[in-house]
Amino acid sequence: MAQMNMIQALNSAMDIALSKDPTVVLMGEDIGYFGGVFRCTEGLQRKHGEHRVLDAPIAEGGIVATAIGMGVNGLRPVVEIQFADYIYPAFDQIVSELARLRHRSAGDFYAPITIRTPCGGGIRGGQTHSQSPEGIFTHVSGIKVVMPSNPYDAKGMLLSAIEDDDPVVFFEPKRIYNGPFDGDPDKPARPWSTHAKGEVPEGHYTVPIGKAEIVRPGNAATIITYGTMVHVAEAAAEKSGIDAEIIDVRSMAPLDVATLRASVQKTGRCVIVHEATRFGGYGAELSATVQEECFWHLEAPIQRVTGWDTPYPHAFEWEYFPGQKRIINALRAVLEA
């Protein structure tokens, strides 16, 4: 086993995929010679050649569209959208084409594409480098949507995504690329080497898509969350002393309903946490599902702790970010109800 941060884990996954399967190709803005603005593809063009690790024009829609064509022609493209905030120019190709191709052609054509993109805030990126648009994609039938919260899952899930014959939108919470973040920006940064999930096998392994993970067992309440917020929720549970069970959803679509159901049926109380804006967000789906599955077990209203319904503001990042305090307040609310 090796110590890896999330960037290294993702890099290792792509390196293995490129080595193992000659049809795997990477494409994206600045990912080739330079190795990507977050360095996730560092060294891969040097190792695998510029015909397999392609720098691309700045046209997210064109990148996804050409990747679809490559996918149909037997390749397995892994594309990078430099920031999730810039995925919208590719939205039509993802929603109208990539997600529907297999269905509309009755299985005759499909494009096994992985779309990697860094998301989330906490890096002073303002409104165009901080968004969490995962909820929008979960509403689109025909694509899988995932977000790992640690290096081990990042590598294992990226390999699953690449090997999957369905399209996968793979969100990477950039705030935790280099280390887990507990929501307190004033604390010194922690590296992944201090975290158990920073231990990552060097070889090939997969973490399945469609399975949530209980990252902290507990009995008093269930926190359902994913990405950066997993770590913030852990810190909040610790600090509050509340015996909260924390579920890392990991796979937003398809969703592992069984794990959610079992937990909330046990605890009877549920807090949902995500960075994305609240209204119409993925937390609503989680809430609706939990309510449908666990109605008779619920002892308090499900709480949503989320980003506010505003664009992500540059200066007020920490007032915007759903930090420990808000999670603790929500936990108290479900316990005291």
């Binding site: 190709v25 015909h51 024009p57 046209a59 829609g61 064109g62 569209a65 050409t66 990747a67 679809i68 064509g69 490559m70 996918g71 149909v72 022609n73 037997g74 390749l75 120019p89 039509d92 190709q93 109208s96 084409e97 191709l101 297999r102 269905h103 509309r104 052609s105 009755a106 299985g107 005759d108 054509f109 499909y110 039938s141 025909g142 899988k144 999957d164 014959d165 369905d166 469609g210 398809p254 969703l255 309903v257």
Partner: protein, 412 residues
């Protein structure tokens, strides 16, 4: 306020009640346009984008360097494909009017584009069509009955009832799935072609859109990526003058021909008489040779006219003169190829009439067979619960649950 407007608003040459007027159309003389070497740099053949490649003269004879010198048998096959396409269209329009299918789109007057191009390409070349290129299906040998079953969404529909009529595809025929969204297939074709080059294979990709569809962003994506990576792709713009009710000037096609869009990206643009089977064949073969020899992409603008309504939901008499097609200076592609063959002594009016009848009959018989596999209201029908399949490769839990619910509850 807007009384003072100085905005330029494009206009078609004629509206209902006006006399048709095609004086805006730049037409070259047959044989007039040079045929450069396929390795010529785009900038050294800009005239190809502004003039018009034509081979067939008014008297049915051929002329000039673009003459592809095809054997009469090949021309007869081309004529047959075009006539079959038209017979198919007529039959389908009729059954749509009878309420047997929900929707249809004809390509009348544009048959040469799809048919000649398919014949100039190889079976391994991948075609990314729009909804108005049924000639590709016909020329690639798809059976009418298969196409009809798609339009019927019946038990033999290759889309399993999931798509509207005319959204055919064929995996073995290398005919890509048609999308209802305009232009999306254009950059996909470029990606397919890039993959072909990456794999060191010789197959090229070809794709089609209409004049109006050039305004969509995927047009720009396709041209940019094709130019940057020199993809072996043929990008076709079928300029039939109209996009539903909108004259092609609203896509900027009268200011500068669509073929010239390529030049700004370093992609050769060729403007061709889209109703001249020989000219379309020749420019396609030229572009295919370019692509196959690694010389890169080509943009072809086919100048033609949409003789029918946009679709069975449209009534063109609301926005253009009823007799516009009669005044169309480039004629009818079938008539023109017929005359050429007659002039060659390889065809006759009698043979033509007989073939017309035969194909009509074939279309009717195909229809009769197709409906035995089910119609919208009668006969065998697909199991609706198949709609839950192929959303993903394997059906996830929530879809299994929804399928069960549907089966348990019944409909309505």
């Amino acid at each position: 306020m807007i009384q003072k407007s100085r905005l330029h608003i494009p206009h078609p040459p004629a509206r209902p009640g006006d006399k048709p007027d095609f004086s805006y159309l730049q037409i070259s003389q047959p044989g007039e346009v040079m045929r450069p070497d396929v390795n010529t740099h785009a900038m050294d053949m800009t005239d190809l984008a502004h003039s018009m490649v034509r081979v067939l003269k008014d008297d049915g004879k051929t002329t000039g360097p673009w003459n592809p010198h095809l054997e009469p048998e090949v021309l007869q096959v081309g004529l047959r494909h075009m006539m079959l396409t038209r017979a198919f269209d007529e039959r389908m329009q009729r059954v749509q009017r009878q309420g047997k299918i929900s929707f249809y789109v004809k390509c009348t007057g544009e048959e040469a584009v799809a048919v000649a191009q398919t014949m100039a390409l190889l079976p391994g070349d991948m075609l990314f069509p729009s909804y108005r290129n049924q000639g590709l299906q016909v020329a690639r040998g798809r059976k009418l009955v298969d196409l009809m079953c798609q339009c019927l969404s019946n038990t033999r529909d290759m889309c399993k009832g999931r798509q509207m009529p005319i959204m055919y595809h064929s995996k073995e025929g290398n005919l890509f799935s048609i999308s209802g969204n305009l232009t999306t297939q254009y950059p996909q074709a470029v990606g397919w072609a890039m993959a072909s080059a990456m794999k060191g294979e010789d197959n090229l990709a070809a794709t089609w859109i209409g004049d109006g569809s050039t305004a969509e962003p995927d047009f720009h994506h396709a041209l940019t990526f094709a130019s940057v990576y020199q993809a072996p792709v043929i990008l076709n713009v079928v300029n039939n003058q109209w996009a539903i009710s909108t004259f092609q000037a609203f896509a900027g096609g009268t200011r500068v021909p669509f073929a010239a869009r390529g030049l700004g990206y370093g992609i050769p643009g060729i403007r061709v008489d889209g109703n001249d089977f020989l000219a379309v064949y020749a420019v396609t073969a030229w572009a295919a040779e370019r692509a196959r020899t690694g010389a890169g992409p080509t943009l072809i603008e086919h100048v033609t006219y949409r003789a029918s309504a946009h679709s069975t939901s449209d009534d063109p008499s609301r926005y253009r003169p009823k007799d516009e097609f009669e005044a169309w200076p480039l004629g009818d592609p079938i008539t023109r190829l017929k005359q050429h063959l007659i002039q060659l002594g390889e065809w006759s009016e009698k043979q033509h009439e007989a073939l017309e009848k035969e194909l009509e009959k074939h279309a009717l018989e195909s229809w009769k067979e197709a409906i035995t596999y089910g119609t919208m209201t009668e006969g065998p029908s697909l199991d609706p619960s198949n709609m839950f399949e192929d959303v993903f490769k394997e059906m996830p839990e929530h879809l299994k649950k929804q399928r069960e619910q549907m089966l348990a509850e019944g409909d309505k």
